[in-house]
Symmetry: D2
Subunit: 436 residues, 4 copies
């Protein structure tokens, strides 16, 4: 995890610290203390827990490590707000996070304030010899909090949707006026790339996670890849063709899931007399056929692609094509957290352009595994990424809930193939022979 | 359900309505909005739900039925706050009551206020021809709300105990100073009663539930019954004798439960280096060996009695002995909700006295079933009691969380044999041949 | 458990022993070794297991206790073939009985032969001082084996039905020709009995189980009871009236069961284009509308009775009415195991007669609990009955699979309210006020 | 799936058909009809089912397709013995295969005989124009049956081990005399390979599965790989070091599995007073420290490797190194089904040799996924491999239960990461930097 060296070490960090910490508070602002404690399923954590856990991370890995005689804010918070760092101690069961009426939301805000003050004090006069390690951990703490900002939004969306009143997280959605003129998505065009020996993984000095390293060479075959993600309208055609009723489109585990869970549509879709509705962070509304499909599992993405005579891209293909698009600076980019849409926006690329990044995480066919020569972070932080490398698949590209400053082209997100509550969509790929 | 007729019908009822409704609000007062929404297990309901459900009961069975053109407070509350009246409509799944951050606690207080105002209006000028039915339903609504007051306390105790911080419902407990002098329980004396043909069930004009009727004759054999309930100290002797390790004391289903749940002690007990602690509504504290045992299942009560060479009383024996004690007016009585102990108090009976009522619900060996000639309430309210008459056992006597004005000697409470979160204890009985 | 004293003690017993042991072997004869090892659900045991377990019972409680230096047939059989006598040692998990391809059926037959030989030797020259206890245990062993003969038939019926080929236990059914003339059941007539103080429980010197004692007095109210059991045709009317679709007919736990299990008809019923079929021990065939309903749970029996404006009888009422019918010697009686129908036969009573006994076990509304003054058998055999006294209900009367010599009017059978695989039906009862 | 063309098409095939079909019968010969019907867990199928299913495969895809007016042996066998070809019709639930006492083992042998006769007739005079497709399907049927021969052995091992009597599949094991001289395993030596651009996947004309194609290029990094598989003794050192107690060695999902299943050792190991025992197909015996470790899950293999400071190889590394060893013809090879050991044998390689193939399937770190350009088989057979490409990992090399003629270096086996009942072991790999 290489980090930049600068002359006045703490200053830039301090500004980023304030901005990132404020962003979390801002995201929680529309919610009542009651909203902030609901855990609607075991995958979801309460907003309050995210606010506390990210604070515990700074307290444990920075303050307790580098502030002499540091006294923790509360002796039981390590138990309550540790997520999965088994090396650090016993952990409150994940599925019981919704039972914690105490500490109150106010107490968690007090906790955040106290830890922020201590961090500011530490950064204002850091011990020079410890600075590299402090900076390393601070960077990781900021990235970690940004990850939890997306989780907070994913989770509160599920929480509010689980309420029969279907309350909105916020009533105004920034995007509505803006995208009114564009009534349809741009045409789907498959762009062809020739086989190549390429490098993937993080390059350069900036921060990245351990799972993006080492940068290494891979072979990609001749392949085609879509200029944009699949839309709701395209997915409706799959549904109309009996997509959820015919096992031949599905992986065996996916078909089991469809049957045992009674899946008939993506998460957050429901039907009324007028047609399909979709629950968004601004509430329940008519489904936009031109907008990117979102909240589908790997199983659904894979089944759709098979039905469409295509496949999901590998993560190497994705990174290759996305890097290509990125180098063509004029290509449009989708929305991120800072754009405040909080819902995927229609693609804006022309037929000749490739639009990559933002709006929805894109399923790849690649299992989440170690790059050749992978080394986890040192010490307790070694549990950050490596221990999840089984049974999950990689998603790429970031979503409308991802902080733009948190993302890189080499960024690897991962979920289990049945999970749907992240802002997950897909882009088609195929082999040249498929289309000839 | 016969009710008293009086000259100025609504006035007394109005006073009782205000008092009972206020009692619920008072019980919720020490709790934050966050506390009021936790559901720590499927048997438990959030405080907020109790406040809303009791209000929905009045709204549905009184206001909607008797106020012309009544408009419900919120169209979805019938779905959210119906408990089990399937005849009235679809119902929010019981296990998801803890997900409802909306409506907020404040909105529920508004709902209570609005319904109370409407009820007061209705009572101030009731339609004379409808008055008997209004009075009947109002009485039932009040009794129903009192039942939920006990449930509210049982449930919040479980909620707070489920939090690793073990917060107290309130910090001061009224009883502590008072019971300090009495360090031990009075001696356990088995009183003998001769076989008799007796009547059990509700008698007289006052309110009772359908399940207490009809009053009917039964035969009770010669039997002995304890002057007081079993204490914590007596139960510790059972535990020390390997009570939770030896299958011969247990019903087959009870032993399965012990093994599958890993039971080693009553609910709310935990051990530290100093000895046994007990979680009470005023927090975690040392176990009082002289106080009545509480929070044991039917299985545990039955196993303890078998180990002790005794048995549980039948509900007929219990009602017979309790009526006898009641007629000897000097007999001491245990604590009820109004005494504000919120925890069972040591018995105060002399060897020659029988103390019945309050402190803990007492397990009987009787299955909860219909009395001969039983008729459920009419209409939708028929679901009140009868449909639970399978798989449960009867408990008698009321507890420290039961409103005193809610109880009768003929009152039949009921739980499944594995449940423990009510204030449940036991009193021993035996056959004369056992003690000779 | 009083037993008869006779001059030449072992002789009668020996004859009965041979007959009862032979009956088990005869019942297993139509089955292949493969059939004899299937466990189609946890409630069911393989035929082979029944043959072995009843043998283990004799070996453990008689041979090992009374034959000097007795060496067990196989050291692991105590582990494999103990059912639930926890006092005797560790037990093979019940749900894994279907995994035991070894010992083979042939080895179990060898085991039976060896134990029979040893029992004959013991009976031919019993130690006089031990004879009373030997006789007591032998009697219990025989009764126990007869119980398992019924279980064997109940279980193999479920086993064969679980096979998609729906094979018959035997192809010829004795009853078919015989009952052809009677195309309908006799009219259902409710007979009225006046309230009385009666005695129930076993009387006299013959064998009975501990749960039938002590004989004791109870009060029965005025009641009506049907002259025969409910027929398939009567139950079809309940089904046609939406019986399985409307919660108001059901106990709360029953309705949960209907929904979670998707119940739409009694066990072993299935529908084809022609109408309802029923799986019987002689295979799948058309449902006989005039035959007694069989294979319904307590929940279904109770729901049917409620729909019919009636109720189930209590076990005291049942025993009272059955004793009355028994005293009128001309009353017809249903079929038992020895009649070899192995399926309930149409009732044959006239309007003025009450037919009791055989064909189907009759649900009562009584929870299975101890009679006043109940004492379990001594020693390890104390586990025989008492530990099942929670959560179950009593059935009376015996079935077409019960050995006639095993039954008494005071006999109490018991199942959980959701179970259906016994030959269980029902008879209606009601209160006089219901029919006026 | 290219197949060889020969002048007299059916003759060679006929010989192979007879040999392969006979092999299945031979493997079932030591078992009783009762043994042949046990399903000890959902992953396992009864022997009888394997015998029938492989026969159904030939009947369905060959006889029904190519024999005019072919009449199936039994109309319900398609329902009972289809495994997972959803395109072909409804399927008996997998978890209920152990309930099928009918058809009997004898009927299944009759079924095999009839289908074999029909196949011989078809092969004796095949319709020339259909021959290529017949030959293709016949080849697949033979390969399929060989796969099930290994499954039969894996499954019956689990079946017999599930019986508390721990019966042996056969009492004599061919290997015992032979391997007596070699008391220890050869030293573990890590061989280094330089990074390379290599081809993997099937090459040439012989049969292979769809998942081994297309042959394609990949990059392998510099890597080291063990000359032999990990031994029981080496794994005992991991266990002695607290391997099953310390979460830091484990993937998150693996640690959950260890805790929820109470894993303390590989499957089939148990401890007595003398030390560790292992259940083998010849019964329970002392664990051989020098023999290859077998019956460990991916989670255990991965944890062991992490503890050892190493990792699992990728499937590309494995295929690269194995091909290298194969080209050095003197290298020893492990045992296959034909060697009749039915248990992994100690390695026999010198320090300079690499021993690959047989004894145990070797875990790789590679997720089971499609090769670039993968195409499933046509038609119903498309379900053969592709639909399992999620959530599983690849194992390579074959085991002591794999027919030698069934295996290729490019062969990809796959299991879920928690499964252990296959003959699964591991070989260590590492990065050069790990050892410097």
């Amino acid at each position: 995890m290489p980090v930049a060296n600068d002359a006045e070490p703490g200053r830039d960090m301090l500004a980023r610290l304030r901005a990132v910490r404020q962003q979390s508070t801002t995201l929680a602002a529309p919610l009542s203390p009651e909203d902030c404690m609901v855990q609607s399923c075991p995958d979801v954590s309460p907003t309050k827990w995210h606010l506390a856990h990210t604070t515990w991370f700074f307290e444990t890995f920075l303050l307790a490590a580098f502030v002499p005689d540091y006294e923790v804010f509360h002796p039981r918070y390590a138990y309550l707000f540790n997520s999965y760092y088994l090396g650090v101690g016993a952990i409150h069961p994940r599925s019981e996070r919704g039972l914690l009426s105490r500490p109150s939301l106010q107490e968690i805000h007090d906790y955040r304030k106290r830890v922020d003050e201590e961090l500011e004090a530490l950064l204002s006069a850091p011990p020079p010899e410890a600075w590299p390690e402090i900076e390393r951990r601070l960077e990781l703490g900021l990235q970690h909090e940004q990850q939890h900002q997306e989780l907070l939004l994913m989770d509160i969306k599920h929480v509010l949707w689980s309420n029969p009143l279907k309350p909105a997280y916020r009533t105004h959605q920034a995007s509505r006026a803006e995208d009114a003129p564009a009534l349809v998505a741009p045409a789907l065009v498959m762009h062809e790339f020739a086989a190549a020996r390429i490098s993937i993984g993080h390059a350069g000095q900036g921060f990245c996670y351990d799972n993006e390293l080492p940068r290494h060479e891979v072979l990609v075959p001749d392949y085609l890849i879509g200029n944009r993600c699949v839309t709701n309208g395209e997915y409706l055609a799959f549904m109309d063709a009996g997509g959820y009723q015919q096992p031949e489109f599905w992986l065996a585990d996916g078909w089991s899931q469809v049957q045992s869970q009674g899946w008939q549509a993506p998460l957050y879709w429901q039907r009324d007399a007028q047609g399909w509705l979709e629950f968004r962070l601004d509430g329940l509304g008519a489904l936009d056929a031109g907008a990117p499909l979102v909240h589908v599992s790997y199983f659904e993405a894979d089944a759709f692609a098979r039905w469409a005579g295509a496949r999901l891209p590998t993560e190497a293909e994705w990174e290759h094509a996305a890097s290509h698009a990125q180098e063509a600076h004029a290509s449009p980019i989708g929305s991120f957290l800072e754009d405040e849409h909080l819902h995927p926006q229609r693609a804006r690329c022309s037929a000749g352009e490739l639009q990559f990044g933002g709006d929805v995480w894109e399923h790849t066919q690649s299992a989440y595994s170690a790059y050749p020569g992978y080394r986890p972070f040192d010490g307790a932080l070694s549990e950050y990424n490596g221990k999840f490398m089984s049974g999950q698949t990689v998603l790429r590209g970031g979503s409308c809930a991802t902080p733009r400053t948190h993302l890189r082209t080499s960024y690897r997100n991962f979920f289990y193939p049945h999970q749907r509550w992240a802002f997950q969509g897909l882009r088609l790929a195929s082999d040249p022979s498929d289309s000839r």
